[in-house]
């Protein structure tokens, strides 16, 4: 059984079908890529998988449980974490606090324990802080733990979002254009990080990305969306040679018309 099985996923906005009957799987411990021209519906898939949108039809089974009836924080509790295409860091919180918020579901300190500063809460907080520092070091942000997230350049904000998502302790990580706006060196670092998350942590990762070097370099499976439909699915080199895929990318011109 795959870790995530998306079946017949469909959603319309004001009569316009943004996704129509999309199905694909993500296996445990694999990196899968979701690609397609601008406006194809990639981010919409993420918004559905994380409960921000309600589907008109379809299911998304995570380990046998349908995610699509759940609200976002319940989905997070089941181990699905994500980043955002247009970064959503907590701007006026420190980098460290951003990652601490990411650990929200792993901590148990309540309102009263917080007010009273109980020893249990203190211990839990100290541990959380250590974990956050470890994660920041891993994404290369160990030196900026105390600065406001807003003051980081875009590339580092993107890495901060990855650290915050990892802080959840996810089974499935959804990355929405993690290489957008990164320079080639940063992109190579990112690829190394993603491979590490798969190989060392055994994470399943679904990545939306326009950068084909990254897609071809790290994914075992590629799903191509076009106008809300699945156009192709397969190994990276198979998909790259698929005439329909080539046509879709060339046919949509710059691809920016409907972004």
């Amino acid at each position: 059984m795959p870790l995530l099985a998306v079946q017949d996923l469909s959603i319309s906005f004001g009569g316009l079908a943004a996704l129509a009957g999309v199905s694909f799987d993500v296996e445990a411990g694999e990196v899968a890529a979701l690609i397609g021209p601008n406006g194809a519906g990639k981010t919409t898939v993420f918004n559905l998988l994380t409960g921000l949108y309600r589907p008109t039809r379809g299911r998304a089974m995570l380990d046998g449980e349908d995610l699509l009836g759940l609200v976002p924080h319940e989905i997070a509790r089941r181990g699905v974490a994500r980043t955002f295409q247009n970064t959503e860091v907590f701007r006026r919180l420190s980098v460290l606090d951003n990652v601490l918020v990411g650990q929200h579901t792993r901590l148990s300190g309540g309102l009263l324990g917080g007010l009273l500063g109980s020893p249990r809460v203190r211990r839990e907080e100290a541990e959380a802080r250590r974990r956050a520092e470890t994660l920041l070091a891993r994404v290369g942000l160990g030196d900026v733990a105390d600065v406001d997230a807003a003051s980081l350049p875009l590339g580092r904000q993107k890495r901060l979002e990855i650290a915050r998502a990892l802080a959840l302790g996810p089974r499935l990580l959804l990355l929405d254009e993690p290489a957008g706006g990164l320079n080639p060196t940063e992109t190579r670092e990112l690829m190394r990080l993603i491979r590490g998350l798969r190989d060392e942590d055994g994470l399943a990762i679904l990545v939306v990305e326009h950068n084909m070097e990254l897609v071809m370099g790290i994914s075992e499976r590629v799903v191509v969306l076009h106008y809300g439909k699945r156009l192709a699915e397969g190994k990276p080199h198979e998909v790259a040679r698929n005439p329909a895929v080539i046509e879709a990318y060339l046919g949509s011109g710059s691809g920016d018309a409907d972004a």
Binding site: R82, D97, V101, H104, S108, G114, L168
Partner: protein, 308 residues
């Protein structure tokens, strides 16, 4: 704690404790009011500054805490004052829960209108429940007691307020540094990212209302003892606006800023008492100036200075 901070804390504690011994009675009263307002500002800041839910109705919570305290003291005079205050705080928190849940659907201007209406409703309720509250005639509040102790002097009430303030500040400092406080801030910064990080936004927004109401209710209880007399006209919408001015001038999302803002507004009110008619003008001016020149309030301006 660094040496400088420790020295600062010791100095602050010394001033707080010695204050009634070195200044005339009126300034003891004024300092007491500063602290009472400081507790309200803390509570309001947890809701508006930390969780981004603007309230124009905190005078309502303040009144509920005050009347609950007065009525408890009148009808159950044997209760020790901590129990009375806790009871008043919890009663107000319950009202906060009842207001917070329907407010979940509201944002921005609509939330401001709903809380504004809440403030009016509380005053109307006090007027109409005159068999309980004596309506416009007002209610005399008996002296607070703790066993054999009676808080009948200005100085004794001051110390009572100091102790409660220290506890409330400690609670707020703890809270904002831990999971709940971070969830509040995360909601303010990005509801979408907070949700997908696992924060139950509705639950924490409601929790912010409850904590905020609790703080304000306890402060209202202290206020009842400090002034010794309650009437509904003391809790009008201008008081709610004053509370907001405190946290805007002091600093949204800052514990220290709440206290500084409360001090500034309370002392200004007092010194402008002779110019009653110009008060809205002067306060409006201060508010606009604060937002223009110190957008983060005194707290963030001070932080910026320290960094230089």
């Amino acid at each position: 704690m660094t040496r400088a901070r420790l020295a600062g804390a010791v100095a602050a504690a010394a001033i707080l404790l010695a204050w009634p011994l070195v200044v005339p009675g009126y300034f003891v009263f004024l300092a007491t009011l500063v602290l009472v307002n400081g507790i309200v500002a803390l509570g309001l800041n947890l809701l508006s500054g930390y969780t981004n839910q603007l309230s124009f109705g905190h005078a309502g919570f303040f009144a509920i805490g005050g009347y609950a305290t007065a009525l408890l003291t009148i009808h159950a005079g044997a209760l020790p004052v901590p129990v009375t205050l806790l009871g008043a705080g919890l009663a107000t928190a319950l009202v906060g829960l009842a207001l917070g849940i329907p407010c979940l659907r509201l944002e921005g201007l609509y939330l401001a209108m709903a809380t504004l209406a809440f403030g009016f409703v509380v005053v109307e309720a006090i007027l109409h429940l005159d068999w309980l509250t004596r309506g416009n005639d007002g209610l005399r509040v008996p002296v607070a007691r703790l066993g054999p102790l009676a808080f009948s002097t200005e100085a004794s009430r001051y110390y009572l307020v100091v102790v409660v303030t220290v506890l409330m500040v400690a609670g707020a400092v703890n809270l904002v540094r831990t999971r709940t406080g971070r969830a509040f801030l995360a909601i303010r910064e990005s509801e979408v990212a907070a949700q997908t990080s696992g924060v139950n936004v509705a639950a924490f927004k409601t929790a912010a209302f409850v904590v905020s109401a609790f703080y304000t209710g306890v402060a209202g209880g202290l206020f009842a003892f400090v002034v010794g007399y309650l009437s509904p006209d003391a809790f009008d919408v201008f008081l709610s606006v004053d509370f907001l001015v405190m946290i805007i001038v002091g600093g949204l999302g800052s514990v220290g800023g709440s206290l500084i803002g409360a001090a500034i507004v309370t002392v200004l009110h007092d010194s402008l008492a002779a110019f009653q008619n110009y008060r809205p003008l002067i306060f409006g001016g201060i508010m606009v100036a604060a937002m223009l020149f110190m957008p983060g309030g005194v707290a963030s301006t001070a932080r910026a200075w320290r960094r230089r």
